[in-house]
């Protein structure tokens, strides 16, 4: 449905996105995840035909965004970061206007507008001036304008940013309801949003794609890997040194103080057994040992914010494992 190939975009000297390639199947709900400034909006703007890439290509439903922008735009509903609403218009008039700009058949405009209002729960405000609406409602009007032409593809740029928790939950529910009717790309810098609404995720950082997979696969990215939290009675300076001989341990991180540690391991529960044995036998006093599984948050942080540490820690684990094999 959406093919993006080797897309680059430069703003002056700044390279906003660099060699971005991904493809999205019809009906997918894809989360476009990355910290602020990662290049999410830039990528989305190129897909919508809002602006041209510096190099590379993008196509929607088989139409090149660049050569055939009109055909692409007919098939896309787009919610930019700021909802593009005219505050001096009534909600219904505004949606009618957008529908006719999107070239919805004249005879169908009313029913399409009704449907969009219905879906976004705007019934009670449909005869109000947009100017008088709350931020959450304006955002809904923004989503309503994106779906009013019943587009094949829906592109939502940070649809919940700046809303209060209740409004965020409402918008997420709304997006869930839209699943199955459109191919959806949704950008966000908050992970739970992707977990709550998407089936697949594309993680982008500093203009580059660092991972793309189903949420299921990503959260078990490093299969058979686990993490335990350990609280000790006595302080220890170097738990890693103590545990390096234990088979299966691949990393040891310090927690809040020298009594709290996190241990990464590879293998089954026997590894945890060996770890606790080792600690108990060295007389450190094991107070707490709780397993926690590697979740998407870890993967995300590792891939984005901690991308510099990542190299370090993988080196470290390489060291540990080489030790083990010796």
């Amino acid at each position: 449905m959406i093919e993006v190939k080797q897309l680059c975009k430069d703003y002056g000297n700044i390279r906003a996105i660099d060699n971005v390639t991904f493809s999205i199947q019809k009906g997918d709900v894809v989360g476009f995840l990355g910290p602020n400034g990662a290049g999410k909006s830039t990528t989305m703007k190129i897909i919508t035909g809002f602006m041209a890439p510096s190099s590379g290509s993008a196509s929607v439903a088989g139409f090149d965004v660049f050569e055939n922008p009109i055909e692409v735009k007919k098939r896309i509903g787009y919610l930019p970061e700021t909802p593009p609403v005219y505050s001096d218009m009534f909600v219904r008039d505004y949606l009618r206007y957008v529908a006719s700009l999107k070239q919805v058949d004249k005879a169908k405009i009313n029913s399409f507008v009704d449907r969009a209002i219905e879906k976004t729960n705007l019934n009670q405000v449909s005869h109000r001036l947009i100017h008088h609406l709350s931020k959450g409602f304006k955002q809904r009007v923004g989503i309503a304008q994106a779906i009013v032409s019943d587009p094949e593809v829906l592109i939502l740029d940070e649809p919940t940013v700046g809303l209060d928790p209740k409004q965020v939950a409402e918008i997420r529910d709304l997006i869930k309801e839209l699943r199955g009717q459109h191919t959806i790309i949704l950008s966000t810098h908050i992970l739970p949003e992707v977990q709550a609404t998407c089936e697949r995720v594309v993680i982008i950082n500093k203009g580059k794609i660092v991972a793309q997979d189903t949420i299921q696969n990503l959260s078990t990215l490093e299969r058979g890997q686990g993490k335990v939290f350990i609280r000790l009675r006595k302080e220890i300076q170097d738990l890693a040194g103590l545990l390096k001989e234990v088979q299966g341990v691949i990393g040891v991180d310090n927690g809040a103080n020298k009594k709290e540690w996190k241990v990464d391991y590879k293998g089954d529960e026997e590894v945890i057994g060996r770890v606790s044995e080792k600690i108990v036998s060295s007389g450190l006093g094991l107070i707490e040992l709780s397993p926690s599984k590697v979740d998407l948050e870890d993967v995300f942080l590792k891939l984005t914010y901690g991308s510099d540490n990542k190299i370090e820690s993988s080196e470290k684990s390489a060291q540990v494992s080489s030790h083990v094999t010796v």
Partner: protein, 256 residues
């Protein structure tokens, strides 16, 4: 075509729903009423005097003495009103990011520009309807020569259309409605001063050139009630030029 009309009607509706538009129209009516009645009074006084001095009879002509002044005042007002109409068409849309909507709808750049231009022309038409009420009212008690009057109105409407094209272009260049307004107003005033420069031009070629691009040269014929082809060509090419530049600016947004 339907896209152009959709945009044009939306813009026109926004104008006439806007309280500022009514304030502007009220001010316009006040100014025109005050000055028109003054002119009319003076004209009738002159007429009365002319009757006492048979030699000067027939000199007085309501077209020149009243209506042309009326139109000149209208023109002066337009110099400042047209920028206020056009400033929101692009600058405000860009500032409020609603422009993104237009750029992601299946529209061609020229459709956006012409749609907005027609919207502005429709709003100007309201102003002209108001201004036309005055000669219309005069017709109740005086016999008028309609043809030159309508041609003169058409002339000023064409000038307003040139202002609108220039000012719409200014609007497309800036995200600030203030900058858009000021540059537009300066440009509108400047086109009248081109004619002043004619006196300082030293070569015949430059003089001809300046004369041909000056509004006052081309308006003089229309205002006196005669339509000249080259003047019409001048007005339409000025409008075409600025709309074309405007289209280029909108198109360039897609390349940033």
């Amino acid at each position: 075509m339907s896209n152009i009309l959709t945009i044009a009607f939306k813009e026109f509706k926004s104008f006439i729903k806007n309280p500022t538009f009514y304030i502007m129209m009220t001010l316009l009516t006040l100014i025109l009423s005050a000055l028109f009645t003054m002119q009319l009074q003076r004209f009738f006084q002159m007429g009365a005097m002319a009757m006492m001095q048979p030699g000067a009879a027939g000199q007085a002509n309501i077209h020149y003495a009243v209506f042309l002044n009326h139109l000149q005042i209208l023109n002066l007002i337009l110099i400042f009103i047209v920028p206020a109409i056009t400033m929101r068409l692009f600058s405000e849309e860009k500032k409020l990011r609603t422009f993104d909507l237009l750029l992601t709808c299946p529209l061609k750049s020229y459709e956006i520009v012409i749609g907005k231009y027609i919207g502005a022309l429709l709003a100007l038409f309201v102003i002209f309807l108001i201004a036309f009420l005055y000669p219309l009212g005069t017709a109740l008690f005086a016999k008028l020569n309609w043809a030159p009057l309508l041609i003169a109105f058409l002339g000023i409407y064409l000038i307003a259309a040139v202002y609108a094209a220039m000012n719409l272009f200014c609007s497309s260049l800036s995200e600030s409605i203030l900058i858009s307004y000021v540059t537009s107003a300066i440009l509108n005033i400047a086109v009248w001063f081109v004619s002043q420069a004619v006196e300082f031009a030293d070569t015949q070629w430059a003089r001809n050139f300046l004369e041909h691009i000056s509004l006052s040269f081309h308006i003089s014929g229309l205002i006196e009630g005669t339509i000249r082809t080259n003047s019409l060509i001048y007005f339409f090419s000025a409008i075409g030029l600025f709309l074309f530049l405007n289209e280029r600016v909108v198109e360039s947004h897609r390349w940033r």
